[in-house]
Subunit: 327 residues, 2 copies
Amino acid sequence: MERLSTGHGSGGRLTSELVSDIISSFGVSGLEQEDCAIPEKGLAVTIDGYTITPRVFPGGDIGKLAVCGSVNDLAVRGAEPRYLAMSLVAEEGLAKDELLSYMRSAGSVCAELSIELISGDTKIVPRGQVDGLFITTCALGKPLPERNIGADRLEAGDTLIVTTSIGRHGAAVAAARYNLSAGSLKSDCTPLWPLVKDILDIPGLHCMRDCTRGGMGTVLCEWAETASLGILFDENMVPIDPEVRSVCDILGFDPLYLACEGCAVIAVSPDDADETIHRLKKHDLARDATCIGRLTAENSGYVGMRTEAGGIRLVDMPVGEILPRIC
Amino acid sequence: MERLSTGHGSGGRLTSELVSDIISSFGVSGLEQEDCAIPEKGLAVTIDGYTITPRVFPGGDIGKLAVCGSVNDLAVRGAEPRYLAMSLVAEEGLAKDELLSYMRSAGSVCAELSIELISGDTKIVPRGQVDGLFITTCALGKPLPERNIGADRLEAGDTLIVTTSIGRHGAAVAAARYNLSAGSLKSDCTPLWPLVKDILDIPGLHCMRDCTRGGMGTVLCEWAETASLGILFDENMVPIDPEVRSVCDILGFDPLYLACEGCAVIAVSPDDADETIHRLKKHDLARDATCIGRLTAENSGYVGMRTEAGGIRLVDMPVGEILPRIC
């Protein structure tokens, strides 16, 4: 009998398999392979559950994370976040003030983006039946009319842009969890909409994805598979903070697969790449935005990284979970 | 320092207080006191988390419950359920086949109502960090145009109708949990939309609510408070199955506060009460539909029950949790 392992929730290969099985048991076939659904004109929807240890980390807490994570899934499909529904499962004994402090964090992101909290649910379960607090948020937004941004727009030749240095959320949480000193390292947890809305009218903007569970590496693998294209990028060009490298060196992580919570990968036609980067760089959040590589017609389904040494390393989806309970 | 207790999640008085504190910390004031939100024309939204012990019970399982619970919150505001977003938090070690069986149950309710699953999330947490499985569903639907059904329509003189015998979900789950033999007792867990859609054009239909956590008693208390009206109903008229009475007698529960998952209370102008009951009774699900009492201008904020003995008992919101992890 197959039992679930934490790797089934990592965002990598095992997750893909489990999700396919869930979908086929449910009996639905039309679910899109995107960060959010656009089931009808004018409506974008996404849902995500959040569980993180520790619940407060450098750069944020579970409340901020639970809003940013879901509204970023709307933003990368070009949808303006408008409404939030939130469900809490808290453990008996959790300090009420702690819960309320996460609500303040969540509310302040919503206020910044003019998002209304429209529906909520609170369950308290007996001690030992949940570890502290789980938050689920469903974010609703307005997609741009007449504008399709998604994996079906990916084209051979598209330039790949990453908006900021990768892996900061995963590294900051790992450092906090294992009491590593990591200097000024903070999670990148932040809403992407203010950044994204400034590039939505670029005609060659084809697809965006925020790199959460599974990191940038997983996003690229999914794109290569979904679009039946190859991807080639330069290790040298991928922005990685020295603190993130240190945490990865100590814990044996690959930064390519570390979670981000305020970093997007963007595929844009090569003619529009400079303009895209120019606009992104106007935002503090994306001052390290850079081209890292491109989509190719050859090597369909594969992602290759040209290493500093000059070879090409095959980048595959992670199979297990490198760091559980991170977002 | 105040700590959360399971009573904070019971749907009663402590829940109301906690929810007010959450809302004020979040910084939102416009949240409606309704089962679902209608934030703009054409859109109804509700979110709910589900955790139940045992996960399979007579009449249903957590998968069926997680769909019925949320789509019923749409139905009672006159909104046709259309889309579902679902987030799972499962414990490492849960059998994959068990999870998939719940997905089949959930999917079959969706198929019956032509609801599309549009967004999902799956998290697997390390053993001991969640008790088995939590499911959160966010249901989206289409409210009737130009038709307001809600607590702001409640009027003195309205007749109160209950659609079926109360407390069956709570009693069936309690019986299963404590290994009581309860004859043919089953949870009433079922979607209300097929029933509700047949009465939506009745002009005097003012408000509906499904009786979930906190049971019928809590719904009536909330109505009396929200509408600043009194409520008087007859104990004799409230349909209660003998098996539910037995479970209540053994465990010391009051059926008024036991959860239902396929039972609604309806407030309708007295002229339309007979027609409403006539239409409801055409459905198997509501063949026991009956008038139980009325809203009054006097005794504002209070709910009274005329007992079999002829006195009037004050019905108050339950303060603690009578049975945790029930829906």
